[in-house]
Structures are given as C-alpha cells and as structure tokens.
C-alpha cells in the first residue's frame, strides 16, 4: 500500500504536459510557478520543464498530476545521491 513517506530526492526534473486550453494552461503555469519548491523554465508549446529540489518530491509530483490543467507528468532527471536505508541480510559479507 502506498505510504506518504519522504522520497529524500535530492534533485529531480520533470516535464509537465499541459492542457491545450490556453487560458487554463497559463493559469496552471502561474500556480506551479508560485510553488517555492519548484523552479520553472519557459514552456515549449504546452510542455513545461520544472525542477524540484531538496524536498519530498512525491507529493509535489502528485499535486502536479492533480492540477486540472495538467495532462501528464514525466520525469527526466534524478540525482542518485540519496541516503541509503536498505534491508540487511545474513548473506551480506
């Protein structure tokens, strides 16, 4: 079952696919830009590049997906420098 735990993602960047409704898309960009955890670049047509850093990325990803002007969210980059927290095993040498 999905649990809302921090993702500890140091850095990730996404492409947000926006609606073709220009007014709704413009409002959505404004709403996303207002989120202080997100850095927004200039949209290419209705595809908006964004970076999320140093926060729990998952709820932000989910929030982006839930916006009425958003069709889809793709991930394009992730830093792998993350805290490790793995199960251990007696087989580990």
């Amino acid at each position: 079952m999905s649990q809302k735990r921090p993702w500890h993602t140091a850095l990730s960047s996404l492409v947000v696919s926006l609606t073709t409704d220009e007014t709704l898309a413009a409002n959505t960009i404004l709403e996303i830009s207002a989120n202080e955890c997100i850095t927004v670049e200039k949209a290419a047509n209705n595809f908006l590049p964004v970076v999320i850093e140093a926060v729990d990325a998952r709820p932000i990803h989910q929030w982006l997906e839930s916006l009425p002007g958003v069709h889809y969210v793709d991930v394009v980059f992730c830093s792998t420098e993350i805290p490790q927290e793995e199960p251990t095993s007696p087989l580990t040498s």
Binding site: M1, S2, Q3, R5, P6, W7, H8, T9, A10, L11, S12, S13, L14, V15, S17, L18, T19, T20, T39, E41, K42, A43, A44, N45, N46, F47, L48, P49, V50, V51, E53, R58, H71, Y72, D74, V75, V76, F77, C78, S79, T80, E81, I82, P83, Q84, E85, E86, P87, T88, S89, P90, L91, T92, S93
Partner: protein
C-alpha cells in the same frame, strides 16, 4: 550533504534535461546529436546505456564520478523515450548501491553459506557438471545480456550436447512467440513504437501501460496534449490507471477475451466488412489440430466463418459480460478503413492457459480487417524484461531453440550452429530440453522418483519468487539432499535462500552489455563502474566453468580442431585467456561473442548490425541492412515494402517466412474455452496477480532504492468495496487469501490504484515477504508452456475469523 557547487551544476543539468525533453516533446527534435561519452566540468562523465528494467528499452545517460554512478537522465537522442523516463528509470542508478550487495562466492556447508574463492566455486560447478552433464540445467532470463545468454546457450547446447536451458521469459512472453510464429512463421512484431504515434485507436487488451510501460503510454497521452485525437480503449478485468485515461472501458470476465476477439471477427464476416482484398492477397486460414499444435491445420474462409457463427454479440455478452453494443462498437471500428488501429498487450494475454490462441486471435482480427501493414495499424505484444526479445527469443535460449530463429529439432539448423561454432557434426542434441515448469518439476522431484535434473544454475533471475505454485515448483527442493542449486545474483533473494552455491554477479553498467527491446531494437553499452567486492560478469562465470571442464578433459568443451569452444585470439593469433578474470577485459569479450552470434542472425532475416555500429547508436531495429550508400539501415516496419529491404519490389506486404510458403500470414480460428480453475462455492473469487509502477518484477533491485521502497513498501490485496464490506474488511485490515495451494495474509487496499470488480481481487507479486506465488496456479498453455498467473480461484476472509475452507478429509 552534496557539495554546493556540484549541486548547482547538477541542478543546471537537471533543468537542461527538462528543457530539452520539453522541446523534444513539443517540436520532435533535439539539437545535440553527439552520443560520445562526455566529461563535464565537474568531473562527471556521461555515457549512454539502456535502462536496466523493462522491455521498453528507454535509454538513459549515466553520470559517473569516482567510479560511482551519481546521476541519471533520460537520453534525449533515444527515439524510444526522447529524454523521458519513468519513476523506476530515473532511480535506476540506485539499484547498484544496496548495502547488501553480494560480494563473494559462498558455498553452503552444514546448512550455512560460507565464503569461498572463485577458483573453488568454479571447480565445484565443473565437478557437478562433469559427473552428470545430462542432469544439468541452466535457468536464465530476459535479463541476460545477449552475449551472456549466447555464452550460456553455446556452453550447454554446443558444449554439453544438452538442451536443458530455458529463460524466465517462458513465464512472460512464450505465448507471444508462439502467436507470432503460428501467424507469420517467424517471431517478433512487424511494427514498432511509431505505431503509437500514428494510430487513431489504441486498444489495450488486459494491459496497463500507464503503470507497466509508462514512457510508451506517455507518448500517446502527449498526442492529446498536442490536440491530436486518439481514442483509447481499455479492455480489462479491473480498472487501472490506464482506465482513467481511456475513452472506453470494457470489463470482461477472466478468460473470456477469447470470446471478445471472436465476436469482432464474427461481425466483420457477418457484415461483410472485413478487408476482402487484403485477405485475398495476404492471408490463409488456419485452425488447430485435435491435439493443440504450433502450426495446426489448413482451413478455409467458409469453415472459418462457420466456426465464428456462434460468437454473436449477444453470445459474447453472455460469456464475457461485455455489453453486446460494445462488441458491435469494436466490430464497427475494425470495419473502418479510414482509421488506424493498434492493439497492445502484455501479460494479460500471454499469462493465459490459452495464451497462444489469444495471440493468434488478436493477429487474426488485424489481418481480417486489414489493420496491418501500415504505421499505426499493428498488433503488438510488449515485453517485460530488457532483453526478453534480444536474448530469450533472438539468441534462442529456450529449451527447443537455437540462435537466430532456429530450433534444435531441425537438422539444418543444428548444422548451421555446428558450422559457426566449429563443432563436429552431430554435437547438438536434437531433442528439446525441459521447458521452465518441467525443468523445475524435475529438479524438485526426488531422483529415485524420476527427478532427472540434479543441478540447476540460475543466472539473472529469481525463480524462488517468480515461479507459480512455489511449493510444487521450487521449495520442494529443500529436502532433496542430492539436488544442487547454483545461483548467480546481485542481492540475497528467495532463490539464494535455497542455494547451495551463491555467485556474486556484476550488474548493468558494471559490465559491458547488449540487449534487445520489444520493437526489435538492439542496444549496446560499455562498462562504466567496477562491481563491488569480488562480483564478476555472468558471461565470465560461464566461460570460466567451460574452461575448467576443458582442463578436466570434457570432450564437449573442444571444437573440432581441439580448441576451447570460447577461444579468443589477439591480432597475432595468440589466445587471450578470458577465462581468467584478470584477462577477461583484455579484449571486449562482449564484442567477440556478439560478432560470432551475429553470423547466425541472417537466416530468418533478423540481421543484426555490427557491434561497432551499435556503439554509435541508441539501438538499431533489425533487420539492419547495409545498402548501396554504404550505410547501415534499420527496419522500423517489417514485411512492409516501404521499410523492409527484404520485401520484393511490388509485393507491398510480404510475410517472407510464411508457414504456408506463399508469403501469406495465417488467420486462425480458436474457440473460447473456460479457465482451468474458476471460482466455485469454496473458492468463490478470481485472484489476479501482476506488477506495480514502482517495483520491477520481484523487487530485488527496486526494493533496494529507498524512494521506490518507501513509495510502495509492501504488497497488498486490492478489493472491491462492497466485497470488502461484506466480509467486514476496511482499508488497512488484514485479509487472509487462500487458494488450493496455500494462504497468505495481506493488508486490504480499497479504492486505491486499481479497482477490481465484485468477485475478484488483485495482488502484486513484487514483495519477497508476501509472496503471492505460493498461491498461484501455474497451469500452462499447451503450446507455449507459459503459465497462467492471472486467474485462479481464491477465498478471502478477515484475519481472526475461521477459514471457510473445510480441511481436507483424511
């Protein structure tokens, strides 16, 4: 804490990647055209590799610094993913760095695994094989790279004259293979991912690409974002994330997809709306023999029409639960010639006791309607592993197969391989080996009771978790003292728990590799970082064991000139001892193995590009043909004159490996047949199993990545809200799931990601602590031998209440 300058640099890189991906999506182009490894000004070296996980074949750019993968981005130049990755892909670097990576060979002594040297390990294996080579088996997977699978294939079939080798791909796409073979005479799709960009209608048959192939699904959703019209139809047994994006959702009773496909064909014939010219030019008709067989027997259109007679929309509604008007809607869509239709399927169709037939029927409705042979008109089976196509299907690591579409039963095919491998005539055994389920049944059966497999070497897969009905097919080994299980692995797994010998393996960019994805695309990468401890390449392990047997005098390890079967020489002709780890990378062994294998790729027109051409590309789709311009050209669309060099001029469409030898494909009739186990009074619920977005297969890699593990920490049972309420179960309560094979306790998830209809449940299989495969059925398709994981009968009740299942008498 990451250094601030480096962080700043990575942020710039992340932003640039997103901008480039957005431009790629918006304008379909990307300015940088260099694929060469690049050294950035913070010391991070970037190089290309395909993602380690599914069969989509996305390319990533891997950032490496100080012998460690430090960043991943989608490869902008890759046509498959155009800079995008799914949540698993962008964490793929993390799979290398679980704390419990296996680092040393370990042999079980007095019940405990104890560290040994590689020399000791290789000798143990060689002795097991030398004593009883005919009782030895190799079990691999679609995660083998092509050179790894090829080495294992040559070792066992060419060296030991033993065909007991099978990949876990038997569990995921064997029915796709038999479907393609019995339709077109040769395996693998005609189309490619471009079909997703060109279709007007996308029909997903028991398929959830929004979670399982999200980058491909994103390609389709992008088209809507650009204002294009594409109609999505989800034909499934439960609502999924894919359903949320679909225009139509047709919910069918498990197993009744056969009736739906026949219902479409019935309407095309009855209404006279099938493509008569296409059928006359390019198709013959076929039906099965009394005993199911791969190529069946000839039939006629008239017989086909008569056999379809009973599949009226109303009859199909009775069988499937899909309203008759929806069957008519599908029939009307296939009848239109002004639109293009692509069908997608994966495990829902393939993991099916009639998987071969369901594949045949899907090909059949596309052929009958003429929705074939143009971009966007395609029946396409997706794969779940990075090289299920490349290694299992093309290298032919199946028990009956040989490289390049050959089979062991064909003398000419055996002779081809013996020639390339420089083996004496007759070295390769003509009798197919054991398929996966049979192999494990024989291994888990006592020798004195006929269990004639006594040693299995598992490479790059986890059968202790993924085989169906595990008590019968895997854990039965536990008390059989003369059976010996060797496991090459990267992490401790359910399989290593029963292993007698564990070999630590290198993975992904810790070694060179070549793989083949779902659209016939062969992809290459170079080693970028060292494996941990004493972990080593799987292909090296195979070659080292082969050489030990050579030293011991095993005649099969010599070619007909007396040389070692994996002999590699340098420019002066001197042997390079690649069986010694210190010398394995003195030469690019992958390239050596691949170039030898490539010689076997031409017979069935699966022509692979030279290794050095693959180095320059983000994969090339075979057949790759050198043309008059001196360039190597890939083939996006096979059998189609506008794309495929092997189609004769003027033919337009040519199935040049046709079963009937007349360049035509086969339209099969196959009846609806009930499931082998269906709900009854005692076990009244359908149990379906499958995957989740965050975890890849048995989770051994993705569960080591904290972000993925935390996002989806454990398995669950999806229940219908009314069913749950009727059993006193709420979200988070613990339910007991029981089948005739066993029972398991799982937390209930209601109205979560998936929505099963009343009378059915869904459980994902990724969780090694909650293994649903202790309960699954494992009945197999009679032709492909692929097991059904999608349906069996179960009962669900709240933990703490009595089991409604009466104990067996006696």
């Amino acid at each position: 804490m990451m250094h601030i300058d480096r962080r700043h640099f990575l942020k710039s890189t992340a932003l640039a990647a997103a901008v480039a991906a957005a431009q790629q999506k918006a304008f379909g182009k990307y300015e940088n055209t260099e694929l060469e490894p690049t050294l950035a000004n913070d010391g991070v070296t970037w190089d290309k590799a395909p993602c380690r996980f599914c069969g989509t074949g996305c390319h990533v750019r891997v950032g490496v610094k100080d012998n460690k993968v430090v960043a991943i981005q989608g490869e902008q130049l890759a046509e498959v993913n155009k800079g995008l990755l799914c949540v698993k892909g962008y964490h793929v670097g993390g799979i290398l760095y679980g704390k419990d990576r296996l680092r040393e060979p370990m042999l079980r002594k007095n019940g405990q695994l104890e560290k040994i040297t590689w020399d000791e390990a290789i000798e143990v294996i060689a002795k097991r094989i030398y004593d009883k080579p005919e009782q030895f088996a190799i079990y691999g997977s679609g995660q083998w790279t092509i050179p790894e699978g090829y080495a294992a294939q040559k070792f066992i079939k060419g060296g030991l004259s033993n065909n007991h080798i099978d990949p876990n791909a038997r569990l995921c796409m064997a029915s796709a293979v038999t479907g393609y073979l019995s339709t077109a005479g040769v395996d693998e799709p005609a189309g490619c991912y471009t079909d997703l960009d060109e279709c007007d209608v996308l029909i997903m048959w028991g398929n959830n690409p929004a979670e399982m192939h999200p980058v491909l699904f994103s390609r389709v959703i992008d088209r809507r974002s650009k204002g294009q019209q594409v109609k999505l139809i989800d034909i499934g047994t439960r609502r999924t994330r894919t359903t949320e994006y679909s225009d139509e959702y047709l919910e069918f009773q498990p197993q009744s997809d056969l009736a739906i496909a026949n219902g479409i064909a019935h309407l095309l014939v009855k209404n006279g709306t099938y493509d008569k010219e296409f059928v006359a030019r390019f198709c013959n008709f076929r039906k099965d023999t009394d005993e199911p067989s791969l190529f069946g027997q000839a039939s006629t259109f008239e017989e086909y029409a008569a056999l379809l007679e009973e599949y009226t929309p109303e009859r199909v509604e009775e069988i499937s639960g899909v309203p008759a008007q929806k069957i008519r809607m599908l029939g009307d869509l296939f009848a239109r010639h002004d639109i293009r239709i692509t069908s997608l399927w994966c495990m829902g169709v393939n993991q099916h006791t009639r998987g071969t037939n369901m594949n045949r029927l899907l090909h059949g409705i596309h052929l009958l309607s003429g929705h074939f042979g143009k971009p966007g008109d395609a029946p396409t089976s997706l794969t779940g592993q990075p090289s299920a196509c490349g290694t299992a299907r093309e290298v032919g690591t199946l028990a009956h197969a040989l490289p390049g579409g050959r089979i062991v039963a064909n003398p000419e095919h055996r002779a081809d391989c013996e020639k390339v491998w420089n083996l004496p005539d007759g070295r390769i055994n003509a009798k197919p080996g054991y398929h996966t389920i049979k192999m494990w049944e024989q291994f888990c059966t006592a020798t004195e009771k006929g269990g004639d497999i006594n040693t299995v070497w598992v490479q790059v897969t986890n059968p202790g978790h993924t085989l169906p009905n595990l008590k019968k097919n895997f854990t039965g080994k536990k008390n059989l003292k003369d059976k010996f299980l060797i496991v090459s692995e990267v992490y401790p797994t359910a399989t290593t728990e029963l292993a007698d010998l564990v070999l630590p393996a290198a993975m992904w960019v810790e070694k060179n590799g070549v793989v083949g994805n779902s659209e016939r695309r062969t992809q290459q990468w170079f080693k970028m970082v060292d494996p941990p401890g004493n972990a080593r390449d799987d292909a090296w392990m195979t070659i080292a064991v082969a050489h030990k047997l050579f030293e011991m005098g095993h005649p099969g390890m010599k070619d007909k000139d007396g040389e070692f079967i994996f002999n590699v020489v340098d420019a002066s002709g001197a042997t390079i001892p690649i069986w010694e780890w210190a010398h394995y990378y003195d030469v690019n062994t992958d390239e050596q193995l691949f170039e030898e294998y490539r010689l076997l790729s031409f017979k069935k027109h699966k022509d692979l590009a030279p290794y050095q051409e693959l180095v320059k590309a983000c994969g090339l789709r075979w057949p790759v043909v050198k043309k008059a311009d001196g360039q190597w050209h890939e083939t996006p669309f096979r059998f189609m004159e506008f794309s495929d060099s092997y189609v004769e001029k003027g033919k337009e469409l040519q199935f040049y490996h046709s079963v009937t030898k007349d360049d035509k494909a086969l339209i099969w009739f196959a009846p609806y047949e009930p499931a082998t186990e269906a709900p009854d009074d005692t076990f009244p619920t359908w149990l379906c199993t499958g995957r989740v977005l965050e975890h890849w297969h048995s989770g051994t890699m993705t569960r080591r990545v904290p972000q993925l593990r935390n996002a989806m920490p454990h398995a669950y049972v999806e229940m219908n809200p009314e069913d749950a309420r009727g059993k006193g179960l709420s979200n988070g309560d613990i339910a007991v799931i029981e089948t005739r094979r066993g029972k398991i306790e799982l937390p209930v998830w209601i109205d979560g990601r998936g929505h099963p209809p009343s009378g059915s449940i869904f459980v994902p299989f990724f969780d090694e602590n909650l293994m649903i495969n202790n309960l699954t059925l494992g009945d197999i398709d009679p032709i492909s031998k692929q097991p059904d994981y999608k349906k069996c009968a179960a009962v669900v009740y709240k933990k703490g209440t009595p089991s409604p299942v009466a104990p067996p008498k006696g």
